[in-house]
């Protein structure tokens, strides 16, 4: 069971969190022409690396904040956690 350090609440067990996927995907900017390719990229395409992966989690049964977690998808080692607003 993963042990994730919430930047707000401290170390908590995985069952307090909910997974939110790849954190590096950027939504196309609003009010601009967006090509089909850009939408495809944003909605469907994922690198899904084996190794370091920056991802979103929500501390849903805690402070309810979205956070960023840098985790190894092979070993599950967590290198760092950030507030959602912080850049890696």
């Amino acid at each position: 069971m993963l042990h994730i350090k919430c930047p707000h609440c401290g170390l908590r067990s995985q069952n307090e969190f909910s997974y939110g996927g790849d954190a590096t995907v950027k939504r196309p900017e609003l009010n601009k022409d967006v090509s089909d390719k850009d939408w495809d990229n944003f909605v469907y395409l994922r690198k899904s690396p084996r190794g370091k992966h920056l991802e979103l989690w929500q501390h849903i049964s805690g402070c309810r904040q979205w956070i960023k977690v840098e985790r190894d998808t092979l070993t599950h080692e967590i290198f760092k956690t950030l507030k959602a607003s912080e850049e890696a």
Partner: protein, 403 residues
């Protein structure tokens, strides 16, 4: 039936408390502190089950969690427990168990015909046959195979027992209360660490209970008792017996199954039968000791062939002889310890050692006790069907290429 294989003294069982139990419908007696396995061996019962495919006779091979053979069906508190290892089940008054995978009974098992036709059922034979005619697989072959499958039978009733789980945090989790586990726990606890010490068996001490060792001026067993008593009195230490750590998950989350009531005839009201612990440990010491590996020879699965460490454990902890004419086959010094224990209890063992000229204190001790030692010897095959009665042995040739 009397306990032909129980020594008059010795062992850690409570001889003042006699316990009656039933195996395959027959009544036997054992003592408080016995396992179902040790009590059965004491009563001379060596045949407890049948193997999965060939229905070969099965006895006891180990003395604990490593037991591959002695699987029984239990009745406890009006609940059925399939696939219980007799070597792990502690004896309690009124225990009822029976053999599995045999019909009509363990002694005369129709399924054993597979053993005599074994030549036609090699490993993976089913991939090569049962293909013609096509419909026969569905209608005849597979239904027969399915019917023959399985060991114990599960009850379809609701399980009325109580089970709980619990989350716990600690600085150090130690699995196993042998000498290294106890020493580690004691050192860490004295320095203020929050320690959980888990022991799978009912008794603490691990190998200290079966080995002739001294620590300081105490015997291993006395030392273990002293340390455990002290650990139990420390507020930063949790000491648990009958607790098996069975999973090591991500980020140092370990899972431990505590058997709270399995050794009692009936669970107390509001007390769970078992409790699952989710332990998040900062550090983990796995001091579970070793499990002896068997040597390979013909028919090494028949009842009466067992690990020498198990034979020693039955002697030292339960005061039970696994046999009266033991042959100890070894390739290292540990077999000598078992042989010496037999000798001390008036039984003459024979040691077969694969080594040519081993030399050590314990070998000298065995020689001094006039134990019959045959060096450069191996067991070629065990003989017997429902119980081993002899063995073919041979001397290894100089170039070790034949015997």
């Amino acid at each position: 039936m009397s306990e032909h294989f129980r020594l008059d003294k010795g062992g850690l069982i409570n001889r003042s408390k006699k316990i009656s139990f039933k195996f395959n419908g027959k009544k036997y007696f054992g003592y408080e502190g016995d396992t179902l396995a040790s009590a059965l061996i004491a009563n001379g019962v060596h045949l407890v089950g049948r193997s999965f495919k060939y229905h070969r006779p099965r006895g006891f091979f180990g003395a604990g969690v490593d037991e591959p053979y002695a699987i029984v069906q239990m009745n406890r508190n009006n609940e059925v427990d399939p696939n219980v290892r007799a070597t792990e089940q502690e004896l309690f008054e009124g225990l009822e168990a029976k053999s599995v995978n045999c019909w009509p009974n363990v002694d005369f098992d129709i399924g054993a015909i597979n053993n005599f036709l074994g030549k036609f059922f090699p490993a993976g034979f089913y991939y090569k046959t049962f293909m013609w005619p096509k419909s026969f697989w569905y209608k005849i072959y597979e239904p027969i195979i399915r019917k023959a499958a399985g060991f114990g039978a599960a009850s379809i009733k609701h399980d009325k027992e109580r089970y709980e789980h619990k989350y716990e945090y600690c600085d150090l989790l130690i699995t196993g209360s042998g000498p290294s586990g106890l020493a580690s726990a004691y050192a860490a606890a004295q320095n203020g660490a929050k320690v959980i010490l888990a022991e799978d068996k009912s008794r603490f001490g691990g190998s200290l209970l079966t080995s002739e060792v001294t620590i300081g001026n105490q015997s291993g067993q006395e030392w273990a008792e002293k340390i455990i008593t002290e650990l139990k009195s420390m507020p930063n230490v949790v000491v648990k017996n009958r607790s098996q750590v069975f999973g090591y998950y991500d980020h140092n989350m370990l899972v431990m199954s505590e058997r709270i009531s399995d050794h009692l005839p009936k669970s107390e009201k509001y007390i769970p039968k078992q409790r699952l612990w989710y332990i998040r440990a900062k550090e983990v010491i796995i001091s579970s000791g070793s499990i002896e590996r068997p040597l390979v020879f013909g028919n090494n699965d028949i009842p009466g062939v067992m690990l020498s460490s198990a034979a020693k454990e039955y002697l030292k902890i339960y005061g039970v002889l696994v046999g009266k004419k033991p042959l100890v086959f070894t390739n290292n010094d540990s077999g000598y310890e078992t042989a010496i224990e037999f000798k001390k209890n008036g039984i003459d063992p024979i040691i077969l050692d694969t080594r040519k000229d081993p030399n050590s204190e314990i070998i000298k001790e065995a020689k001094d006790l006039n134990i019959n030692i045959k060096l450069s010897y191996v067991v070629v095959a065990a003989k017997g069907y429902k119980k081993v009665n002899s063995a073919d042995i041979a001397k290894i040739s100089e170039d070790k290429k034949k015997y």
